[in-house]
């Protein structure tokens, strides 16, 4: 026999002004099962919660109904209150008298009548509630970080520092990502390599971090605390255990005309190569598309030169599985290529380069050893023009968003140029200059006021090639739109930052969301910025949108804290309001007919198959819900043709009772 307590909250004037709360409480006393009812000004306050706890003890309540705001607001608060008084938290239900009654009505009499009906309905429902216990799931205390850029490195280091085992997966043959390509970093102009390489070495030498280089994620199964990740390690054709990293092979390789992706195509590399001198690990790989031995069978120079005998042309791709408790996506971004801009010198002029290419030109370890020379003829650049918002903020042709980093890196590029070419002229074509960040605006103003860079507020309409030079057609919008033609030796396009082209496919296999532009989406942009909608998968850095280094590093550390917080529990507790396929015993049977319609509709891949054995020895397959994966959406319940699935906490019995309470 239920002993139900009803507590009607005035919510200050929010409910009390429109609903006669005292009358609702008085009426509630007459509902079947109700043994106690009262109203209160602020039920969520500490004294208000104390009243509930005392009433539970004094009247021996077995269930509680709170007539208050939306369950989204305070359901967890009141369930905790009930638990403190020894009542199962799932025996507490909320009657929404604010959002669904007082806020949307003005007639006090009618609103009060409606409130009484809502409470009657919830009381009828709670009479059919059953106590539920949280689901306990074990956790594998190992984490996989996908991506070896600064986000992945920082996250892995912080996780290892916190005691977690880390698997750091990187698809190229070195750690470092885009940050290792940069010459200097804004706003302090410290050398990117100098601050990054020590961290790369730390990550590689940390005993808790296992590097999986030249490896990609193929498949992700499982759920929070218990993921099984299938990795694909591409053949390197070099036994890294034997290789000493001497680099002799990379010098003798006869295939020398391959554009280096690290130098953004501005220098050439060999078929067996180490991407850059500071690479970690400093071990070469053979590019099977270019290697003559692998393509034609004739060559083998590297094998002859290698004293360690590390070259292995027979090496095969490997596929293997790793069990982890959490996954961190740190897959980063790319920049749009110049060929997306046919109106800018056809998009293919040799002296029309991207910001990332300029980084390589300005870098001391780059193709020009840091001298600003243009690609077409190697002439030192005297006049340079930077075009901001190439692709960004252009919803008609490219992307609608602001790429966030370009204003600052363009200011940095212009400053670097003026520092290297004292008598040079630097022009920047910008729409707005957006510099929110510590020391950012000061840096940008210094670019103009101290280094004498000329900013023109204009979007470049066209760039016309003039031999090796380029002429920019602009309008000075700060001078009434006066048309200008600026002739430059080289033009740098601050092309839009875009998602990695294959990250969406990966997101699909993991069941995490991405937006229309292809960026991975967080649960809440402000309050939960590093979590995905799939529990146990986190986002760090530019995979969720363009980010600068400080933001990326902050996110990486934030993710580490989240994962370590997850791992701090001996096991996971999850909400028990999940779907359940019915079973009756003995012998174990179910009304499930095994049609598996539920399997096809489940968005969380939570439906598994179980074999039931009848007394006569015959077997049949029925559905079973994986408690770790189920998010309690109820889609399977609505779909099941044999009504064999129930959602705990929202059973048919409860719902029908609630409906009957209304009529």
């Amino acid at each position: 026999m239920s002993r139900i307590g009803v507590f009607i909250c005035h919510c200050g004037e929010n409910i009390g002004k429109t609903v006669d709360c005292a009358r609702v409480a008085e009426e509630a006393k007459s509902f079947p099962g109700v043994v106690f009812a009262r109203d209160n000004t602020y039920t969520c306050s500490e004294p208000g919660q104390a009243i509930i706890r005392e009433a539970i003890k004094e009247h021996g309540l077995t269930a509680v109904v709170i007539g208050s705001c939306s369950p989204r607001m305070h359901e967890s608060t009141f369930r905790r209150t009930c638990a403190q008084a020894g009542l199962n938290p799932y025996m507490c239900e909320i009657a929404n008298l604010r959002e669904q009654c007082s806020w949307v009505h003005s007639n006090r009499e009618e609103a009060t009548a409606k409130a009484i009906e809502i409470v009657r309905s919830v009381v009828a429902r709670v009479r059919n509630n059953t106590p539920l216990d949280p689901i306990r799931v074990p956790i594998t205390k190992k984490v996989m970080v996908v991506g070896g850029g600064i986000a992945g490195i920082q996250c892995a280091l912080d996780l290892a520092e916190g005691g977690a085992e880390v698997v750091l997966v990187e698809r190229t043959s070195s750690l470092g990502g885009h940050m290792s390509q940069l010459s200097e970093t804004f706003p302090t102009l410290d050398c990117s390599q100098c601050i990054l390489t020590p961290r790369m070495v730390d990550a590689a030498s940390n005993p808790r971090i296992k590097l999986e280089m030249y490896t990609e994620v193929e498949k992700v199964d499982g759920y929070i605390g218990n993921f099984q990740v299938t990795l694909h390690r591409k053949a390197r054709y070099v036994d890294w255990n034997k290789c000493t990293g001497c680099g002799a092979c990379t010098q003798k390789c006869p295939q020398k005309k391959i554009p280096s992706s690290f130098d953004e195509g501005m220098s050439m590399r060999t078929a067996i190569s180490i991407p850059f001198p500071q690479a970690v690990p400093s071990k070469p790989t053979i590019d099977k598309d270019y290697c003559m031995k692998l393509t034609t069978g004739k060559c083998g120079v590297c094998s002859k030169i290698c004293k360690a005998g590390a070259i292995d042309y027979e090496q095969k791709d490997e596929h293997f599985t790793v069990d982890v408790g959490a996954i961190v996506m740190a897959t980063g971004f790319q920049v749009m290529d110049t060929d997306k801009f046919p109106y800018y010198a056809g998009g293919s002029h040799p002296n029309l380069i991207t910001g990332l290419q300029f980084e390589r030109i300005a870098s001391a370890s780059g193709p020009t050893s840091g001298e600003i020379k243009r690609p077409s003829d190697g002439k030192p650049v005297k006049t340079i023009a930077f075009v901001q918002c190439a692709g960004s903020r252009d919803k008609a042709n490219h992307v609608a968003y602001c790429s966030k980093i370009c204003c600052m890196y363009t200011a940095k590029h212009a400053t670097l140029f003026k520092h290297k070419v004292h008598d040079g002229n630097a022009w920047v074509m910008c729409m707005d200059v957006r510099t929110p960040g510590k020391g950012y605006d000061e840096f940008y103003r210094r670019t103009i006021e101290h280094d004498g860079v000329h900013y023109i507020r204009s979007r470049v309409s066209r760039i016309i090639p003039d031999g090796d030079d380029l002429i920019l057609m602009v309008a000075d919008t700060l001078d009434g739109g006066k048309q200008l033609q600026i002739k430059a030796d080289m033009v740098v396009l601050a092309t839009a930052a875009v998602p990695q082209p294959d990250v969406q496919k990966m997101a699909q296999t993991m069941g995490i969301a991405y937006d229309g532009d292809g960026w991975l989406t967080e649960v809440h942009p402000k309050l939960r910025p590093v979590e995905t909608a799939t529990a146990g998968i986190f986002l760090a850095g530019a995979c969720s949108g363009p980010k600068d280094i400080p933001d990326t590093v902050s996110q990486a550390s934030a993710v580490a804290a989240k994962v370590l917080g997850l791992f701090a529990h001996p096991e996971l507790q999850r909400e028990p309001t999940i779907a359940r396929v019915n079973r009756c015993a003995p012998p174990l049977q179910s009304s499930c007919v095994g049609c598996f319609t539920c399997e096809s509709v489940c968005p969380y891949k939570a439906i598994e198959r179980e074999t039931l054995r009848a007394r006569d020895g015959s077997t049949r397959q029925v559905a079973k819900v994986n408690a770790g994966l189920c998010q309690g959406c109820g889609t399977c319940v609505a779909t099941c043709p044999s009504k064999s699935i129930e959602l705990d906490g929202y059973t048919d019995k409860q719902i029908f009772a609630a409906l009957n309470g209304l009529v």
Partner: protein
Amino acid sequence: MKTLAELVKSATGTTPLDCYQCGRCSAGCTQNVTEGMDMGPVRIMRLIQMEEAFKDQPETAAEYCDRVLTSDTIWMCASCQTCTQRCPQGIDIAGTMDVMRQTAIQRGKAAKSRRVYDIVSAHKAFINCIRRTGKNDEVALVGEYKMRTGNFLSDMNMAPQMMLKGKMSPFGAIGSALSLLKSGPADNVKHVFEAAEALRKEEEEQ
């Protein structure tokens, strides 16, 4: 020839190149509203910047320079200093206008419009008055101004009121003539003018 920005820098110690075009100077400019400048001070700043930016293309630079020096704006400025006081970048905008006026006169670029002619006349009448007597004398000033502009009747209606309030003596002309006879051109002021002239020549030679 020095660029306008360089002239401003040496005269005021601040530079229009720092301007980020917020427009606060122009939004609060008293003359911009009442006199209808042909462009706000903010645009003058921009043009000075662009002259500097196109330094290596003399023709384009000269075009920007002329647009500043031939503008009405630099003459409409009343030097009230409101803009200088408010400028978030600490640029001496009123000082910049001063430099522009001087340069316009020196290079013979001052605007040919009637109202600019009147203003330049007032400036000349004033400085001549100082040069002659070493002090400002309203009657002498007004006299020369009227002679220069040929606009004898304007502002006449203000004279009776000014006399009633003791701002101007009805016998001012006689007084002025007497004081001229009595003291002659002030020697000290003469030195100042000579020194200024020498300085200008020196600068020109550079």
